[in-house]
Symmetry: C2
Subunit: 606 residues, 2 copies
């Protein structure tokens, strides 16, 4: 079983050569800490930790899984020790404010850390990952006292957090939430209800767990406008801040899942559990979703990280395993057969993985700059900046989450395919990546929900196409500047064409939706995927333009790296981007063939 | 957990209304047995067996899996009883010649049986399924004595069979096979070597197992021309035909797999095991591959059956689970939310499944007529007919196997997606379908191998495009006849366009391959998928034309069924068929961006 190597060269290429992060960090109030030396040191050290500590636990964690023992969840062997190294290394507070014990680095650096951790061991990374949601909620909506009590132990990793939304009867449709919160004389509340699918809902890694819970006050309005947000700790904090009395929240079961088996997915029973209101009454959903864009980008990482891992393993295998001869003639005549890597169809699979891993990473790093600005707005109390960057991020988020996780599944399956029948055998680890990655299009909003959020909300309802106009203008401006470069010109021309088409498609759907609202839902998935392919095309062209420049200059020790960049960009334009046109056709189809059958007709068997 | 319902209405629609099987059977020498009454009775009874006996063991078989105990494989609870019912019902010999105890029905009826069994419980169906390969090999290449000894107990299901090809160092590249066969004084051979991935290699369902094994004679030529075929029974048959002495073939281990866990995938160790040469020396591969097309069509079923199963379960769930409101307004105002089925994006997923299940089934039933004619040629000793139909089938086989199993994986994942997060939980069974189906693109030749077989061998090498010309002529002739029908006209026009394009693409690749042989491998996957989409379009139009005619006539009790057929055909043309154009673009791209990087450049990290 090969092991994870942090793709530091590619990360630094994006940070320093493509997206000018050094300059970007200088514009942030938190940027003073993020000097190039610090960034380099953090990336290297994080890479080492992920390679040496987290990667070796990837397969064993899946084999062992989590256990529920006497009402407490036990994580797989090695996780507790790894988590202690993680916490004591100060990693949890990397991007948290210094006033709460964090290191005060920009939000994007947290993303780079998450990417490496999630690639080395996605299940492990979910334990600290879920804490970030709780931290963000407390940071934005907690009272001073709540922040004093809960934030510091979360930031230093002594405690962890969860987000408790889903109930048996509802996941997407949170208006159906029915967990009750009864106010008590002392200002606290007693919560009763059942939450399901709670990642890290119980475990043995930290001394306490802070649940952020959606529930209803008595007499609250029905639907989404009657939901409030509560802090419910596993152990009530004592007056000294130490862990006190056990609260009445318990793990009623562990879900048996297809993958991410080392991540504890809990049924949580709240049985008059003590909680504390956070944020205003009945505005729980708004509070919960404040940092939703950043959380969803964290999930989008699952389209990129496992693709990178699968690519690394598949590439190694393709260089070692020998089968048949290349069609263009023997490549290794001294061997019994040529290595798989000499077969063009195997190359197609590997290059697809590489294009998705590096293209997806670049899309995320592009968006992470916007996230930095948004967080910086919060820090500076500049709501205008917050709104501006949240909008820009809000347009990209469903594309990143929906498109990249769909492609991540494809890529994980291709990696398995490179192994042939051996890919289906557990010991090679390729099928684990497929199983683990499969959750990515389901949680944090399914692909269908991302698609509706993008087309229905961000594009049509909120901006009447304006979000597409703004983004395509940026693409077109970039493309026009590249027309003079003969190597980049074909990509630039394609981008110009796509910029126009994206707007045209948006307008046609806008018009069609006036007559038939179902058109929006019928077109949403194709629109999402189309948007993803075009966005990735833009981002690949930006990488290619840097690679061409560096190769033109010459003499760089990274020439092989730049040549690979350029070939991958060309591959993407030639063999993956054409799919955008299939989605363009699909989204313009009338909704009629989809919707005209009654459920009985659809199920008709006679 | 919902259970399997045999889609008998759709099967009979294809047999009786679309492909005129009653007329077809009259042209076969084995057809006299296959009267409409018999066909009807066999389908109904097989459906009942699959629904009542096999379907209930689907999930439990996966949970329990197979165990290796004291060197013997134990199948999951209930399998042995189910197999005994299967064997005593005479199902194993359904399409086997009467002279060996079979029922002498056409080969296609065996396929319909396999489809239902494989849909209800794919893992179970592999045990009798593997026997078919052994039976076919013995039927065609066995001596009279070998047939007397081995065929009858295989036909009545008392014994089962395997095909032992793969070794640790080679799967696709069988020229690397190294198992040795030493001739003995009595005319038998002693075989030594290790075979891996042997489905049904050991189990407790039958009293004996007949292994068909590829091995090398001493001094045999290197590569594929030095491989011979042997019969190696688990127990040597005694003179009375009963089971005698234990042979030196043993199960050295069970593979831990992603899915099909109730199917025993064995490492088999041959340690001077006694075997009998079957067919001529050094022509083992040709003998083994005689019925390869039919075996691969059996695997193509795995693209269709699990899609049907996943569709049935997802459709039930979509009708029951409520979430949000339809964009076009409340559909069930008295309920807390609308059922999933009212959301267009959920419809898109369900209709995709339906289009693949029914379109794929129809493609298989179309091909099964050709298989009938080929087998009939064998029965009648008419080699010309055998060759003619084997060629026609040989063109369709990689399309069916490659394309349908790729789409089957997509469909299984869509079914899971309909369930949202619940799809990832084992108890619902949706993730099992995904895991089980995943093997389909890997075994019996990966998709890459199917693609090379189609483009490199069947289309370019053997016929220089003739196979495409012949098949598209058939499509175009059908399409022209439909132009006068206003409802079918859009599909007919599209088919005419695609018929021309398919030939043009073939010619362009033929020309490009003269300059660069890698083009063939680089284009093969796109060519395969393109071919699949066009073939399915043809088959959907044929179904639509029948549905339109029936709806025009009116008064049929199946009106809902026909309306669903027509809507699904339209859906296919509007939302799935456009993908063919993305593959058309991809296949014409130069191989350069795929092939120009050295392996080191591809792996470059600095």
């Amino acid at each position: 079983m090969p092991t994870y190597k942090a793709p530091l060269r590619d990360m630094k290429f994006l940070l320093n050569e493509v997206f000018d992060y050094p300059g970007h960090y200088q514009t942030l109030s938190t940027g003073a800490n993020a000097t190039p030396d610090i960034v380099e040191a953090v990336l290297n050290e994080c890479g080492r930790f992920c390679e040496e500590v987290l990667s070796p636990l990837y397969q064993s964690g899946d084999e062992e899984g989590c256990r529920l023992q006497d009402g407490e969840v036990k994580t797989p062997k090695g996780f507790k020790d790894a988590y202690q190294q993680y916490a004591s290394g100060g990693w949890q507070g990397l991007s948290a404010p210094e006033e709460f014990g964090g290191q005060g680095l920009p939000a994007s650096m947290g993303l780079f850390k998450q990417e490496m951790m999630g690639t080395a061991n996605w299940s492990f990374s979910m334990y600290p990952g879920l804490s970030l949601g709780a931290m963000n909620t407390l940071f934005l909506h907690g009272s001073d006292e709540q922040q004093q009590t809960f934030l510091a132990p979360l930031v230093d990793g002594r405690w962890s957090g969860t987000m408790c939304l889903t109930e048996p009867q509802c996941g997407t449709d949170l208006g159906q939430v029915s967990t009750k919160a009864e106010p008590q004389a002392d200002g606290s509340y007693l919560l009763t209800g059942t939450k399901i699918f709670i990642s890290s809902g119980d475990h043995d890694l930290t001394e306490n767990i802070v649940h952020i819970v959606l529930a209803r006050l008595p007499e609250a309005p029905k639907g989404t406008r009657g939901i409030s947000l509560f802090i419910v700790p596993k152990f009530l904090p004592g007056p000294d801040g130490a862990v006190g009395e056990r609260n009445a929240v318990s793990c009623g079961g562990l879900e048996q899942k297809m993958g991410i088996k080392a991540s504890a997915t809990c049924v949580l029973n709240f049985d008059n559990a003590r909680g504390y209101l956070i944020g205003p009454e009945n505005q729980g959903l708004e509070c919960m979703f404040t940092f939703m864009n950043t959380a969803r980008i964290g999930t989008a990482l699952q389209g990129v990280g496992p693709t990178e891992l699968s690519y690394q393993w598949a590439l190694d295998y393709a260089r070692e395993r020998r089968s048949m001869r290349a069609l263009s003639g023997k490549k290794e005549p001294e061997q019994v057969a040529d290595a798989l890597i000499h077969h063009a169809d195997v190359r197609r699979m590997l290059m697809t993985q590489k294009a998705i891993a590096e293209g997806g990473r670049a899309m995320l790093y592009y968006a992470a700059r916007l996230a930095d600005h948004m967080v910086d707005g919060h820090v500076r109390g500049d709501q205008e900046a917050v709104d501006k960057y949240d909008d820009k991020l809000g347009f990209l988020t469903p594309i990143l989450k929906g498109f990249l996780t769909e492609l991540g599944n494809e890529a994980a399956n291709l990696g398995m395919q490179v192994f042939g029948g051996h890919g289906y055998i557990r010991e090679h680890g390729m099928e684990q990546i497929v199983r683990d990655t499969r959750i990515a299009t389901l949680y944090e909003g399914t692909t269908g929900i991302q698609a509706l959020d993008l087309l229905g909300r961000k594009v049509l309802l909120m901006t009447r196409g304006g979000a597409v106009r703004e983004f395509t203008l940026k693409i077109a401006n970039f493309a026009r500047k590249q027309l003079g470069n003969s190597q980049l010109r074909p990509m630039a021309l394609e981008l110009l064409k796509l910029s126009g088409q994206w707007n045209l498609l948006t307008m046609r759907i806008l018009l069609a939706a006036r007559k038939d609202r179902d058109v929006v839902s019928a077109a949403a998935n194709d629109f999402l995927m189309y948007s993803g392919y075009v966005t990735m095309a833009y981002i690949w062209a930006r990488q290619a333009s840097v690679a061409i420049r560096k190769l033109d200059t010459g003499g760089d020790e990274s020439e092989a790296f730049y040549r690979a960049k350029l070939a991958t960009a060309e591959f993407y334009y030639q063999r993956l981007l054409p799919r955008a046109q299939a989605h363009a056709s699909g989204m313009l189809a009338p909704a009629d063939s989809l919707m005209r059958l009654t459920p009985d007709e659809l199920a008709s068997t006679g």
